[in-house]
Symmetry: C2
Subunit: 326 residues, 2 copies
């Protein structure tokens, strides 16, 4: 069935859509109550984050907008050391979209929410003119334990910089799909609960965490450098990239430092804890290719020791990158 403007009217067509697709894919007592807001258990300190997803195509190798919209938001909660608890799901749907496509996306969201251990507590549906596009906003709420204080400005000189796996996979998968290139590159979109909660359980002194999405590792490191007023010194040779993504980026002239991921993080940890942190991440789901890529020092900006023995300033992404990557 095709979506029409009536599905966004708030009347019977809207409730039919919710009943037949969204509630079917995501049933739980809070959601099923269909109230104006969900009332749930809280905690002393909570983390809140919001993200909209406009990725095109909606389905790509290794994932889809539904999985992405859960992972992106769950990971943003984790980056403050919060345990993800609740997620909301708001669809803006262009007229002409297929209800079958919506259903696949809703099922994927539900599956990913289970994996990420979050409860989908409320939703919204709006319809706009257009040609079948689907956009999803997810907002997440998590609980933060007393004493947890993870933020960019905490980075100290001497800290070690860890990335949790290969760079550029999501970017390369989406771009391959758009260009019709056949390869075995898969998006890395994944929820990073296990590695982050694992580090917290092991009492790693984590100073800052950032997931690497739009703008890539280069942009994230520049943001960390600005917030903490420190220099991020990294080694090109240590940046993990799969052979396939490396070839892909070289052929197309893409800079791996600006290619987006959707299931990777940068952890800035106390030097003494770096080896344990690395081992926790490597032993967690989605962390097997993690590496220590450098050190925080006094100074400014992001500096890379290149493979051929030089030094290069890494800038944040300027301009367009890959539009609609997430």
């Amino acid at each position: 069935m095709k979506i029409t403007m009536a599905h966004g009217s708030g009347g019977r067509a809207t409730s039919g859509l919710i009943e037949n697709i969204f509630k079917k894919a995501n049933s739980n007592p809070v959601l099923d109550a269909m109230e104006d807001s969900a009332v749930v258990d809280g905690d002393n300190k909570i983390a809140i984050t919001t993200d909209s997803f406009v990725v095109t195509p909606l389905f790509y190798s290794g994932g889809d907008i539904g999985r992405l919209s859960v992972c992106g938001t769950v990971n943003d909660l984790l980056m403050r050391g919060a345990v993800p608890k609740y997620i909301t799901s708001a669809y803006i749907i262009e007229e002409g979209a297929d209800t079958e496509v919506l259903e696949r996306i809703a099922v994927s969201m539900s599956k990913t929410a289970k994996e990420a251990n979050v409860c989908l507590v409320c939703g919204d549906t709006k319809v706009i003119e257009g040609s079948g596009g689907i956009y999803i906003n997810t907002t997440g709420v998590g609980f933060v334990k007393d004493g947890t204080d993870i933020k960019s400005s905490n980075c100290k000189a001497g800290d070690k910089i860890i990335v949790s796996g290969n760079m550029g996979d999501h970017h390369a998968a989406v771009l391959s799909h758009r260009m019709g290139i056949k390869n075995s590159i898969k998006s890395d979109n994944a929820p990073l609960n296990e590695m982050v909660l694992g580090m917290l359980e092991n009492k790693i002194r984590i100073h800052a965490l950032r997931d690497i999405t739009r703008g890539g590792l280069g942009t994230v490191l520049n943001e960390l450098s600005r917030s903490s007023d420190k220099c991020f010194l990294i080694n090109e040779a240590d940046i993990p990239v799969s052979d396939e993504v490396k070839s892909f980026s070289q052929i197309l002239g893409l800079n791996i430092m600006h290619m987006g991921n959707e299931g990777k993080l940068v952890a800035v940890v106390d030097a003494e804890d770096a080896d344990i942190a690395l081992s926790v991440i490597r032993n967690s789901k989605y962390g097997e290719d993690a590496k220590i890529i450098g050190t925080v020092t006094e100074g400014n900006g992001v500096i890379m020791n290149t493979k051929i023995g030089g030094r290069r300033v890494v800038l944040e992404l300027i301009g367009e990158g890959l539009p609609r990557i997430c």
Copy 2:
């Protein structure tokens, strides 16, 4: 300046947009930290709600999409008896939108958030192809006091049904703007904190609350009737409508029962408390035209005693109504 795809890349253009528009309009320590998620104080019970806004035009008599996006979400929290605390703001912007327009909207959001006593804690910006459209998702978090239990299924036979003011104002204002009709009808978009928190302070036994938006009063009453398995018996003569909106709806053949508001609620309260509830609402900001419009009885559906002495079944909105009203 016109928005380009680069403003959605996650790189320098995105951070420039956030810095110059969104942070300028909404500065606070939580937001200014620019972290992946906001860490804030929580409470034992929290309410969560999400809503996207796709209204066209973006500015109309009495309001704009910025004010609307705060009111809609704040009101949804209030409808569960929650004290609104935090709000998120996620923009999906079509290429070609004006940054001046974005700025006006962001300033309006900020002003309305102050009025509604909520702190804007995080945001997101995405850019899609298109022709200058702007869509906003807001998600709200509120605190619910122990013992507060307001939900549709609580409605009991004998309860009184109160509406907080004139029906159809938002609908008529948006439609007038689209049709280029000059009149003095203004949207009612407003945050209803004062009347709801006032009723709670006065210990009114509120059984259910619903704000009247898309689908209108008829749709809301049908939803309440279904959830509580009761009949909602109302009097046509008691439904408050301004003379101007009444004439407007009669000329265009619109059913006032299906016209949307954005600053009105239905309160279903214990019969013994109905008069005090009415007086609290009438003495609150935005509540002066409140009326008791009927009674909950055993049975099903929504029945209206008409002005000419008949009885009519009121159905929920079927079909399109006014698309993109909120």
